[in-house]
């Protein structure tokens, strides 16, 4: 199973946000999508998760063409995502938020399931929620109201929510922004664990080069909506082109350390 986009372009009116981008995010690998601000990363992401329709090109999940499927249909096929601007229900507790992640794919478009729940379903949701909270190390926050938590804690709740949903492929949109340094490191460890132990696939958009170089096995570099380079982190660091477009010598040095 893998997520694959082929020749995807997204135009907003005359403005070409993304042009002919192709990339692959297979299971068992953390794939990074990097690029300076405005390079088209989030737009590419939204085309993957279905929040916008690409002008041209196809999105495939597991070999199926999902270009014209709704976000919900894609999610039910195993594609989960988090948001750069976190989408949490602030009035609910962390546990309830994470439980929503498990419930949404479970009930889908089934009207009866949306209204009635069986004991077995409740137990399954409960179990998925508890284990996702544990995995992200936020069990102690379970009964806190999300609106009162810090950005780092909220990021972890978003991650836990996608984990509770049992998605095989995760799209993480700038998960480390707003995190402290040690929080970022822990976050990276969790991601590595998910891929090695659970065999998930992760596509990550990220600005924190230290995190990207530490966790990603393969990188795609976007600039002005074009894919300018792809390769392993080492190759990306060595690339003069990427250096010129984006990283700048200082950032690379920091990342190498």
């Amino acid at each position: 199973m893998s997520l694959e986009i082929v020749d995807v372009s997204v135009h907003y009116g005359g403005n070409k946000a993304v042009s002919n981008v192709s990339l692959q995010a297979p299971l068992g690998r953390i794939t990074g999508l990097i690029g300076p601000n405005g390079a088209g990363k989030t737009t590419t992401f939204n085309a993957c998760s279905g929040l916008l329709r690409p002008t041209t090109g196809t999105v495939r999940l597991n070999g199926h063409d999902i270009t014209h499927r709704s976000p919900a249909a894609r999610a039910r096929m195993g594609l989960g995502r988090t948001f750069q601007r976190m989408e949490l229900v602030n009035a609910m507790t962390a546990r309830m938020n994470v439980a929503l992640g498990a419930e949404c794919p479970l009930v889908g478009v089934n009207a009866i399931r949306q209204v009635f729940s069986t004991g077995a379903q409740r137990r399954a949701v409960e179990e998925a929620t508890t284990s996702a909270l544990e995995l992200c190390g936020i069990s102690h926050l379970a009964d806190r109201t999300v609106g009162t938590l810090s950005t780092g804690q909220r990021r972890l709740i978003e991650l836990a929510r996608t984990l509770a949903g049992g998605f095989r492929l995760l799209l993480l949109d700038e998960p480390s922004s707003g995190l402290a340094e040690e929080e970022t490191e822990e976050f990276g460890e969790i991601l590595k664990h998910l891929v090695t132990e659970r065999g998930l696939g992760i596509l990550i958009v990220e600005h924190d080069m230290a995190l990207v170089m530490a966790v990603c096995q393969y990188l795609y570099v976007l600039d002005f909506g074009h894919l300018i380079f792809e390769g392993t982190p080492a190759e990306v660091q060595a690339s003069e082109l990427v250096r010129a477009a984006y990283l700048g010598s200082e950032a690379v040095e920091v990342a190498v350390q």
Partner: protein
């Protein structure tokens, strides 16, 4: 052509006035982010003020007009700017409630001051005129048209050239940024409200001579401006003006072609047809969006301790059980209260739990009323069966309203549902499916083996049992999985969709459930009195429901009970609290309630400060360590910081 011409002339003249009102509405909406449902009420208010000055106090008309425009351009505009600013970044549903409250408040005030009867309005402009191929065009019409057109396009030209125009476009997106470029956001908004109010006032004064002085008529006729705004996509001033002309022409021509039943309901509904068509046909992303509010509509709900809840429920039920022995001849009032509780329960589920606004709830109730009549008197079905069917027939109507809800949210959903309610009133109420030509239906009370419900006392207990059952189901839904999904949907539907939930199904379900219970309430209402007319089920009632619900807070059960008591029980005891007073009071309190919701943090902060200062005064009060965390959880994260 000659017999078409008079319709074209009236259409264009009235259309230009709708356009003028529409331009004012769009301007204030785009500048403040608040779509003023009370815009038409402003026009009505100005017509009455002009009438008072000119007719009652014999002020010459140019002076009277000048004073009226000055009052609206300065005092009213100032008040509106103040009000909308204090709303801040509350969810859109709350903003809608605020301006609906404004509408009700102004209309109630006008009714109180001038009575509800139609008064003739003087033709203050010259009624002489000239002939165009046999059709008389009066100078009053020419002056009205020219004035409206010149104002609309004059404003457009002015805003294009003057710095204020740019500032107005900027202020809704980012007032702080505007402030940094040495332009006071307050001043810019005030200018917009000033122009908008003057335009509304002008259209009111100019429309009144042809319509006569009637608060409801004026309020809802300038609401024709809604159709104009829709054509202008809620953003373009010239298109809005042309939209006004289109609506005016279409309405005028409709009166020519659809003069006989069953189509005579179409002409008055034309602007709402236009509104509905635009809202349903144009992709929702083309409409200007208010910045999404980051605040939750529902306060953090701390579930009551089980024992307290059980105690309260028991006490409440006991109180309701002894009502018949205590209240004497007022019992019908209480039966009405129970029905209202079901209505408010179903509405609160929709508005507070799922965050979707409905301004056509009375139409759902009306479907229940008429179905009950058709099923019992028409088909001779047993009472209980007819009751359930009344709810079920309302379900597809609810599903119909869910269609706009799937595409639209916030303001545009409110407009679409209001349009739907108006359509129902004009086009479907008079048909034989509903109230019929007499606009009245009847239904019996049940004759069951164990209960003789012709006695009020026994009927009361029957309704009590049904109402309690309904509320139990509604609360069960709100606390079940669906309730969780709905609460999440009110904050972040995108998240639910990207996690695999079919949110459209969720929306459909909640509208159907809500309509079902509203239908049941309607069936009980017609059964209580034996007959029912269309009067209590028009769009104004829907607005009143929303206003009363809003002033009772955003909780499900508590707000429903309180709202039912306020709307149905209190007026039964205070006989002087008539419809006008109710509308005025509920409208004003609803506006106040929205400000309280908007200032929740500030108020919580004030309470905290107060506690702290009183603690300082009393050294024996509990130590700060114990009290402070509780106060902190009560305060929500300020929106600005979370951004």
């Amino acid at each position: 052509m000659t017999n078409l011409l008079p319709f074209l002339v009236t259409g264009i003249v009235s259309g230009s006035l709708y356009g003028l009102a529409g331009v004012g509405l769009v301007l204030t909406y785009r500048t403040s982010g608040v779509f003023n449902f009370g815009h038409g009420a402003l026009a009505a208010g100005s017509a009455y003020l002009f009438y008072s000055l000119h007719v009652t106090h014999h002020v010459p008309w140019p002076v009277a007009a000048g004073i009226t425009l000055l009052v609206f351009g300065v005092a009213v505009a100032w008040a509106l700017e103040r009000l909308t600013r204090s709303l801040g970044d509350v969810p859109e549903a709350v903003v809608v409630v605020a301006t609906v409250g404004l509408l009700l408040g102004i209309q109630g005030l006008l009714w109180l001051q001038y009575g509800t009867s139609l008064r003739p309005f003087p033709d203050f402009l010259p009624t002489s005129g000239f002939q165009i191929s046999g059709v008389t065009v009066t100078y009053a019409q020419v002056i009205s048209f020219l004035l409206a057109t010149a104002s609309a396009f004059g404003l457009y030209g002015f805003l294009r050239r003057h710095r204020l125009g740019v500032a107005m476009r900027g202020v809704v997106d980012n007032p702080t940024l505007l402030a940094l470029s040495a332009e006071s956001p307050r001043r810019v908004r005030l200018a917009a409200w000033s122009i908008g109010s003057v335009f509304a006032a002008l259209s009111g004064i100019l429309l009144a001579p042809t319509l006569g002085l009637d608060a409801t008529l004026l309020t809802f006729l300038v609401v024709q401006a809604f159709g104009a705004c829709a054509i202008g996509m809620f953003s373009s001033l010239p298109l809005t003006y042309l939209g006004g002309i289109t609506v005016g022409l279409a309405a005028s021509l409709a009166t020519k072609y659809f003069s006989k039943p069953p189509f005579n309901g179409i002409p008055p509904a034309v602007p709402f047809l236009v509104l509905l068509v635009v809202l349903l046909a144009v992709p929702a992303r083309r409409f200007p969006k208010r910045r999404a509010s980051l605040r939750s509509l529902i306060p953090e709900v701390k579930p009551m301790p089980r024992r307290t809840a059980a105690l309260l429920t028991g006490a409440g039920l006991l109180a309701l059980a002894v009502v018949p022995t205590v209240v004497g001849t007022r019992l019908p009032v209480w039966i009405g209260g129970l029905q209202s509780m079901i209505v408010f329960g179903s509405l609160a589920l929709l508005v507070w739990t799922s965050g979707q606004i409905s301004l056509c709830h009375a139409a759902f109730v009306a479907v229940g009323v008429t179905t009950m009549s058709h099923m019992t008197h028409g088909l001779g079905l047993p009472w209980g069966v007819a009751l359930v069917l009344s709810g079920l027939v309302a379900v597809p109507v609810g599903a119909l309203v869910a269609i706009p809800a799937i595409r639209l949210s916030g303001l545009y959903l409110a407009l679409a549902t209001l349009g739907f309610g108006v359509l129902m009133q004009f086009m479907f109420f008079p048909t034989s499916f509903m109230f019929g030509k007499t606009l009245q239906v009847s239904a019996p009370r049940p004759r069951l083996a164990f209960i003789d419900a012709t006695h009020d006392k026994q009927f009361y207990f029957l309704v009590l049992a049904i109402a309690v059952a309904c509320m139990v189901v509604i609360v069960a839904i709100a606390t079940s999985r669906l309730g969780r999904l709905l609460r999440a949907m009110s904050e972040t539907p995108t998240m639910l969709a990207t996690h695999g939930l079919g949110v459209n199904v969720t929306r459909l379900i909640v509208f159907c459930v809500s309509a079902f219970f509203a239908g049941i309430a309607g069936a009980l209402a017609v059964s209580q009195y034996g007959t029912a007319s269309t009067a209590p089920y028009g769009p104004v009632s829907s607005l009143l429901y929303i206003a009363v619900l809003a002033m009772c807070g955003t909780r499900l059960l508590r707000s429903s009970i309180l709202a039912a008591a306020l709307l149905s029980v209190v007026p039964g005891y205070l006989t002087s609290f008539d419809t006008s007073r109710q509308m005025f009071a509920f409208g004003v309190i609803a506006v106040a309630a929205t400000i309280v919701i908007a200032k929740r943090e500030v108020i919580a902060q004030m309470i905290t400060t107060f506690n702290r200062s009183s603690r300082r005064a009393r050294p024996w009060a509990p130590s700060p360590g114990i009290v402070a965390p509780r106060a902190a959880t009560g305060t929500r994260v300020p929106a600005g910081m979370a951004r």
